[in-house]
């Protein structure tokens, strides 16, 4: 009766499964939508197509990410090992909506102040923010080749819940950046990590930013030339998040570096040990290895 009951259960669950689309059976058991390589692979396995066509990204943003890819990986796609940082994921978002607050004045280097809305839906709970920058693209070969001093006024607001309410200001942030710009520069990066860290950590799905950027030539270096100059460049900035994906399917650099130093007996054993024994575990580990040595 035990066996027959077991068979009955198996038959029942098989019936249930047969009604469900085969692809959904392949989904990760915890049901979370893991944005990454697996869901599309499962999709291809189940019916060969890869779902709806994708929105095409901004070409300048794509050019930047291709440059980053070449810096991080070989032609065959192997991550270069000469990198010290820990991020295994970099996401570039272009603003999904923008609203001009005040007109700019390009001859004086003041850019139009705009409200930009970034949708961070693709960031998973397993991805922890390590660094974040606003990326301005210089879309013409701008003529200046000297130090540029920029003042950036950044206000992060709570996206409006309805058209009637005004967005609540979450953080206001003004900082001066000085950077060398030359003919070869195509991008300006403004670090906004401290501003975004709490928002990404609290799983904010969209971020509204009001950005006001004014750049002038550094008077000290070039007293002769006029202080302001024509900046025919900047399109609205992209937001780049450098993340450490802690999920099992992501590559953990520190993990392989750690195990390179400690050749383990059995290749499989590497995977089962904890990455870094901490606290009493470390002590326990020390004691047990002491036992092992004595034995």
């Amino acid at each position: 009766s035990q066996a027959s009951r077991g068979e009955a259960q198996i038959a029942a669950s098989a019936e249930v499964e047969s009604e469900v689309e085969p692809w959904s059976l392949l989904q990760p058991v915890d049901g979370r939508d893991r944005s990454g390589l697996l869901p599309p692979l499962f999709k291809v396995l189940s019916d060969g197509r890869l779902g709806a066509p994708r929105l095409q990204p901004d070409s300048r943003a794509l050019h930047y990410m291709k440059t980053l890819y070449k810096a991080f990986a070989t032609k065959e796609g192997i991550p270069k090992s000469n990198r010290s940082h820990l991020y295994n994921t970099v996401r570039l978002f272009t603003p999904c909506a923008q609203h001009k607050q005040a007109p700019g004045d390009q001859t004086t280097g003041i850019l139009p102040s705009v409200d930009l809305l970034f949708n961070l839906d693709r960031v998973t709970a397993a991805e922890h923010l390590l660094k974040s920058v606003l990326l301005y693209t210089i879309n013409n070969s701008v003529s200046f080749s000297s130090a540029v001093k920029c003042v950036c006024n950044l206000v992060v607001k709570e996206p409006k819940s309805s058209s009637k309410t005004l967005p609540r200001v979450l953080h206001s942030f003004t900082f001066n950046s000085q950077f060398e710009l030359g003919k070869k520069h195509k991008w300006i990066e403004i670090d906004v990590t401290t501003l975004l860290q709490p928002l990404v950590a609290s799983n904010k799905r969209s971020i509204l930013m009001s950005i006001n950027l004014t750049c002038t030539k550094d008077q000290l270096q070039h007293p002769s030339q006029d202080g302001l100059f024509n900046m025919t460049f900047l399109v609205p900035p992209s937001l780049i998040l450098y993340l450490n994906d802690t999920s099992a399917q992501a590559y953990h650099r520190w993990y392989s570096l750690y195990y390179k130093r400690r050749p383990s007996q059995d290749p499989d054993q590497e995977r089962s040990l904890h990455a870094y024994p901490v606290g009493e575990e470390a002590a326990e580990d020390g004691k047990s290895s002491h036992h092992r040595r004595r034995r």
Partner: protein, 135 residues
């Protein structure tokens, strides 16, 4: 006793019927031994080029071939592998012979375009087989 020694020395070392290459084939190194093979694919073959921007070529590699009967340390196989082989040969051939499978992998970096138009650079674990074993 010199004649005895000389006649002994003249005898062939192994019985005429014994064939060395047969021995190797049967006991030590099968012809198509378990080994790593290349399989270079481009994502456009899978019609994924509108999703995966880089790399253009991807060689996941795979393991294929027969596992020698006495695998021992050659593949980092546990003793269980030989036990399973003996079961297959001597006791019950419905038990499968040991299989040639990947033992180690290396990661792969991919640049993808997400459904919302954002761009993601990600490094995935275990995407390229780098070593085979018999299990």
């Amino acid at each position: 006793g010199q004649e005895t020694v000389i006649s002994e020395l003249k005898k062939p070392l192994v019985p005429a019927s014994f064939n060395l290459s047969e021995y190797f084939k049967r006991f030590l190194f099968p012809q198509n031994e378990c080994a790593l093979h290349d399989f270079r694919l481009s994502f456009s073959q899978l019609k994924w080029e509108n999703w995966i921007v880089a790399p253009h070529r991807y060689n996941p590699r795979y393991c294929k071939g027969d596992c020698p009967r006495a695998v021992g340390h050659r593949y980092g196989s546990p003793v269980h592998t030989m036990v399973q082989n003996i079961i297959y040969e001597k006791l019950d051939s419905s038990v499968p012979r040991p299989s040639c499978v990947p033992a180690k992998y290396s990661p792969l970096s991919v640049l993808t375009i997400e459904p919302d138009g954002s761009i993601a650079y990600k490094e995935y674990e275990d995407m390229i087989a780098t070593k085979c074993t018999c299990r």
